[in-house]
């Protein structure tokens, strides 16, 4: 079997399902079997929750420390500064995620505008 994007028709959709959807989805399905036997108080549940949280924080930290694409054109200090502004807005507006996002976005876009000359 050979699949190629250039074949057009259904080929791009088959490629998505076989090489994108299934390899990713398998982990969710495998986990269901284990999760069925866990309850909310179990240490395995808590441990899994911790690993997932640390992973997420790690991914997020990397997006800021070594970003891809246009974000890399904004200096690290400005990226961290925008994050601090987001944190300040979060606290100022009584732990509002929305306020944090809007303030951080305003800060980073101003920085991008400034540094792109």
């Amino acid at each position: 079997m050979s699949l190629d994007l250039a074949d057009g028709g259904l080929a791009p959709y088959l490629i998505l399902i076989v090489f994108g959807f299934l390899p990713s989805e398998i982990w969710r399905w495998l986990s269901v079997g284990v999760a069925r036997r866990l309850d909310e108080e179990s240490p395995v549940f808590l441990f899994a929750r911790t690993v997932a949280a640390v992973l997420l924080v790690g991914v997020v930290a990397r997006l800021i420390l070594t970003p891809a694409g246009d974000l890399a054109s904004v200096p690290l200090a400005a990226r961290l500064g925008a994050l601090c502004i987001a944190g300040a807005a979060y606290l100022a507006f009584r732990k509002s995620v929305m306020a944090a996002v809007l303030a951080g976005e305003a800060a980073i876009m101003s920085a991008a505008y400034f540094f792109s000359g």
């Binding site: 399902i17 299934l22 999760a35 069925r36 549940f45 690993v51 640390v54 996002v101 980073i108």
Partner: protein
């Protein structure tokens, strides 16, 4: 008053088919839709706008960009998929890298499903629910589900997550047509959205010492593992080492605090 608060009258959380027969599941499904539309659905949607542009650059039709969000429902895996194909990577290698990036769903599914299930929940229902678990739905579920009575958590979850997926699907499609014409400050804003949104969601959702230690360990170890662990294993190492560190640090912390009381 939102149904989430009205749920307190369900005295036994494992009830109650009598209670739920009165239309409560639909009310909670709609409450899920409503809560998704107050923010989370748009945050994840904007974060995936760029995926649409990537799909176009890789030579896919717009329908695949849209379906990639509905089927894969994982930003990093979608970026890898389209990015690697655009770079003419062999398809089996694409599948392998996509699969590696999605291993992170294991702890997420393990930590959400036990909050959702009841004793009589069918396997097929759990399999379908697991499909919607990705970073956004995971983080928001940990934060929102404890306020929802267990009997109606599944309808709430499906209302919330299906809304997130559909809104994001349409934004991915929009990105397919728009990404190339976004001015630079906006493109930077799109890329910055993911980190600022997830960090504030995690801080907002942190309830126990474990949650706080996870934040601290993740932030402290991320630059270190990136520098010293190579070959694509740095995230795996970060999750296992940082996760174990945070877990045991939190337990020690709790024990000391309990003894001090």
């Amino acid at each position: 008053m939102s149904p989430a608060n009205g749920g307190g009258r369900l005295t036994n959380p494992e009830t109650s088919d009598v209670e739920t027969a009165h239309g409560a599941p639909w009310r909670f499904a709609l409450e899920g839709v409503r809560q998704a539309l107050t923010g989370p659905a748009y945050f994840v949607a904007v974060a995936l706008v760029g995926v649409g542009g990537l799909a176009k650059a890789a030579g896919f039709p717009p329908g695949v960009a849209f379906l990639s969000t509905l089927l894969i429902w994982a930003g990093p895996a979608q970026v890898l998929f389209f990015g690697a194909i655009a770079a003419k990577t062999a398809l089996p290698a694409v599948a392998l890298s996509v699969s590696l990036s999605s291993i992170r769903f294991v702890p997420m599914v393990l930590s959400v499903l036990p909050m959702l299930k009841r004793r009589d929940t069918r396997l097929s229902t759990l399999m379908i629910a697991s499909h919607f678990i990705a970073v956004t739905v995971w983080a928001e579920s940990l934060r929102r589900l404890p306020d929802i009575p267990r009997a109606v958590r599944l309808p709430f979850f499906f209302g919330f997550s299906i809304t997130c997926v559909l809104v994001t699907g349409f934004f991915t499609l929009a990105g397919y047509y728009l990404a190339a014409v976004l001015p630079k400050p906006l493109a930077v804003g799109v890329l910055f959205l993911t980190p600022v949104y997830f960090l504030s969601t995690l801080v907002r959702g942190a309830r126990s010492s474990i949650d706080w230690f996870a934040l601290v360990f993740g932030l402290a170890l991320a630059p270190l593992t990136q520098k010293f662990v190579g070959g694509g294993f740095d995230l795996l190492a970060l999750g296992v080492v940082g996760g174990a560190g945070a877990y045991f640090a939190a337990r020690a912390w709790d024990r000391r605090r309990d003894r001090a009381r």
